[in-house]
């Protein structure tokens, strides 16, 4: 099975405004603007794009995960705007690789759903971060490891992209980053596409045609 779906997650929303800047910039609003452009760029690369929210709602972490976990052949990208960091930079985060755990039935526990996909997530994260680093000077060259809550329950390659920051002097500084971020993510996911394989879960047979 090939990769053909990208689930985009504009973080926060509703009463959860996320990071807030001194100039009245709200993370929950800005990420929607980024999401619109990223969606367009991904569709230009031939991906089907699903959103966890497209208005001012605030689905729970698990609701967002359920949206992604219901898909086959998908990757998950959660978009954030930081409170801090060097303005005009962007970072990609992935969870640490740990040996996958299963229960006695061979099923993956919901709260550790990311474990079997961690290696793929790293690969996806490095592709996307490599593209971001080309466009935004001062950004790290590769993906970083951090225990981001949203990623833990995603049963698919999953990354978090965080852009700095809501503390910019004017909203325009963030707006100018939108096309570059969209292009970088779309190119990164497209470059990752050939690497995508469905991981073999412990205790299960590999899907037909998939190399373990």
């Amino acid at each position: 099975m090939g990769l053909n779906i990208v689930v985009l997650d504009p973080a926060h929303g509703g009463t959860d405004l996320g990071a807030r800047g001194t100039e009245g910039i709200r993370e929950s609003e800005v990420v929607l603007q980024f999401t619109t452009q990223v969606k367009r760029a991904l569709e230009g690369q031939g991906f089907q794009v699903l959103l966890t929210r497209d208005g001012n709602e605030n689905p729970s972490f698990d609701d967002r995960s359920a949206r992604a976990n219901a898909q086959r052949g998908a990757v998950f990208i959660t978009l954030h705007i930081a409170s801090t960091g060097l303005a005009g930079t962007a970072r990609t985060y992935v969870l640490q690789e740990v040996p996958p755990s299963t229960d006695l039935t061979g099923l993956i526990p919901w709260d550790r759903a990311q474990e079997p996909f961690a290696v793929l997530s790293h690969k996806l994260g490095d592709f996307v971060q490599g593209e971001l680093a080309k466009r935004f000077k001062g950004s790290p060259p590769t993906a970083q490891v951090a225990p981001v809550r949203q990623l833990r329950t995603i049963a698919a390659p999953a990354i978090a992209v965080e852009i700095s920051s809501v503390s910019v002097e004017a909203r325009g500084d963030l707006d100018r980053m939108v096309p570059g971020v969209a292009e970088a993510i779309a190119h990164g996911v497209a470059a990752f596409r050939p690497s995508y394989v469905v991981p073999v879960m412990p205790g299960t047979a590999p899907p037909a045609g998939v190399q373990p």
Binding site: A82, G85, Q96, V98, D111, A146, P147
Partner: protein, 228 residues
Amino acid sequence: MSGKWRIWLAGGLLAAVIAAALYFPALRHQVDVAKQLTEKTAEQARRELLPPTPVTSGDPKVKAKIYWGSSGADGSLVPVTVELPLSSDPAMRAKQILNTLLAGPVDPEARTLPPDAALLAFYLLPDGTAVADFSEAFATSTPSGIQSEELAVDSITSTLEANVPQVQRLKILIHGQEVDTLAGHLDLTQTFPVSMKGAPAAHTKSPVSAITAPIRKAIDKVKGATKQ
């Protein structure tokens, strides 16, 4: 019942309804104010009940490494050597070290933890798991974001690693409770490795290991203390 009495009764009921409608918002406001006061008082009472971390003159002064933020906005930490009287008891030493970290550096820009945050309790289990219970301000005043939340937790784990080698992993509670995230991003449901011994098998320092029975017991102990 005569028509006159019915009018009087209806009039009385109408007056009662109007009075209740007028009084209800004021009553609700009073209840909200009382609730806030109770919460504040509980927090204050808890702080007052906590024994101050003893720094006795008998504790030898040692050079401690405290990890605060770098002067740039790159989200990195730098160790600062501070001479402190530190206990030889690991749990006490950890409290002293964390209180120094919370007190902050000379340069407020290099602060990694909110100035109004406090360490409410600290336990060290025989297996090297530490449970640190911070006040609510740690969660509410830490800037929301992956980088900023990670910086806060990394400064705690790096400072513990440098000064209290007995601590292998750390569980963070907020006001005696387990919470999902620190400020919307960083996962606080599991433990953070402090030394390489506490890290998940064959991997670098970062998240996370499962909550084992002894850790659960310690968490329940902290929760119990908070309820009291």
